[in-house]
Symmetry: C2
Subunit: 339 residues, 2 copies
């Protein structure tokens, strides 16, 4: 009789009995944290446990230990590819450190966000990772007040421990790239002004313009949402022919860029020829568009690891750690025609 259907409820007691030791000995032998005792009995217990198909009851264990090796991740939505990728990386980084990552989605509503956090907290997570922070967000402050371990990713409120890309550098890189290709009529479509990412990417873009002595036309610096439809609207207003038209656009994320592509198509403008375009985040789709999209790549894996570190090992002084992004030039900026 091999490992058929494992008994439904093998408890530590069963393992202990079968191994002829006490429950506490069995418990110790099976403690995954301690550096694996290599005594004879311990080995025997482990073998028996395996044989019986023992699985620790996580609830009993967590109840007793007072911590759960679980962390909660809050994202606005998983159907946003960037957020999905961010979560996948967090999941991976967490697993490497023995944590299990649980997601909850909150949409854009601060109330739902609150609710989602409470749900996560109800499951006794050891800490929280939030990808939802707004600049004026109350939530991180409240978490600090309540002494709940947490870290922010991708966006920051400027205070709580945060791991994010260096958005200012990214914005600079993108616009600098366009300038280097000879453009001077450059528009910037940035994200919602309550996100640190939008603000910083715009600031970086302005730095690049300044540096090249280009005085930005304010009607070409537009704040939008981070969705495709927002990019489309922004694109429509930038590209309609009644006025002068930019020859290049920096979109503060790839969704916005997708919207601009659709708008350009509508006006018969060819991306990569009539209009140079750079996006942000380098989602997988970017490289696979008809005209591949130049984009700023953010090291999500590194951000995930940093966030977990910050959460597990909260620094005395709150820190905001920024990872450097890189520009991936593709046909949409026309860079391949010039190279």
């Amino acid at each position: 009789m091999e490992s058929g259907a494992p008994a439904v409820n093998v408890t530590l007691r069963d393992v202990a009995a079968a191994s002829g030791v006490s429950v506490s000995t069995a418990s110790r032998a099976l403690d995954e944290r301690a550096p694996a005792t290599r005594s004879a009995t311990a080995a025997r217990v482990r073998a028996k446990a395996e044989e019986l198909g023992y699985r620790r009851n996580s609830f009993a264990s967590n109840l007793r230990r007072g911590q759960t090796q679980t962390l909660g991740v809050l994202v606005p939505r998983l159907s946003d590819t960037v957020m999905a990728l961010m979560f996948e990386e967090i999941e991976r980084a967490a697993a490497d450190r023995g944590y299990f990552a649980m997601v909850a989605t909150s949409g854009d509503d601060p109330e739902d966000e609150e609710r989602a956090v409470e749900t996560l907290l109800d499951r006794n997570v050891d800490g929280l990772i939030l990808a939802t922070a707004r600049l004026d967000d109350e939530l991180p402050r409240r978490l600090r007040d309540r002494g709940i371990a947490h870290a922010l990713v991708l966006r920051t409120d400027g205070v709580s421990p945060s791991a994010l890309g260096d958005d200012e550098a990214g914005g600079y890189l993108a616009v600098r790239h366009l300038i280097d290709l000879g453009h001077r009529d450059i528009a910037v479509v940035t994200g919602p002004s309550f996100t640190s990412s939008a603000i910083a990417r715009l600031a970086g873009a302005r730095n690049a313009l300044d540096e090249a002595n280009i005085s930005p036309r304010e009607q070409w610096m537009v704040a939008a949402g981070y969705g495709i439809e927002n990019g489309f609207s922004a694109g429509e207003s930038l590209l309609n022919t009644t006025g002068e038209r930019p020859t290049a656009v920096f979109a503060a994320n790839d969704n916005i860029a997708l919207g601009i592509i659709a708008a350009a198509h509508r006006y018969g403008i060819t991306i990569g020829e009539d209009l140079a375009l750079v996006g942000y985040n380098d989602i997988p789709l970017a490289s696979r568009l008809s005209t591949p999209l130049s984009s700023v790549r953010v090291p999500l894996d590194q951000i995930a690891r940093t966030a977990i570190d910050l959460m597990v090992n909260p620094p005395k002084e709150p820190q905001i750690r920024k990872a450097l992004p890189t520009l991936i030039p593709r046909a949409s900026s026309g860079s391949l025609n010039h190279a």
Copy 2:
């Protein structure tokens, strides 16, 4: 002193003490399942609990109750929009029934899948929902043998309780649409042959062709992966000019369609004019492409609800429940030019 920082550890005992009742009374008063006792004491207890910021310790509760009101969801990857949307719907449907949904991702590797399931099981989920089933999958069988409550979504192994779209109907709808628009040279790019969805969508497509007395050219019926790059390869081989070219393509998912769009662009073929294209799943991006993509929409919300029902309330006879999809015609099939 309003609800400042809630005390860190308010237990049932504290609530009981503050209310002048025993723990058991407090426990009963706060039992969320029973139909809310409306006695005076019960109300007082609830008020006190609220006031003290009491939160039930889910571990203690679950340990005692023997079930966790948690279910595990397994998807290949969250960065696939369809999977992300599916999970979001499952999360919602689960919450409606008092369950919390936990995800794990398994990639395409059966071994990782196994590991992910064990991880979920280790967290004592009450049941599993799998979006990963292969036709010859061992996993569902093993779950059945072990008596673990589960349901399959989107794909089925043909045996375990499943909730999915009627893929055959969807395939039929898509191709029928193309035929109705006057096409006879129709190619079908389907998904991996180990998925029930690919098989069934192809079967539906063939039905539509048969019905119209079109004998499909086998070199135009190609099986691919479900990724953009697979669609691109398939598109390249279909659209290269050395042979006759189809005038219409049914892609068994939207990613494949995206790949075909890129391939078409490469050959200077205009989607919606030179080539009609229909995708599957109707991901949000579909409607926002430069040339909006006709696609078959699957009622993920309904599938999610059905899956939870099947899992919570396992039918005596295993059931495979199929939800009817609908075709959303857009410019990519040229339908808007004819209408």
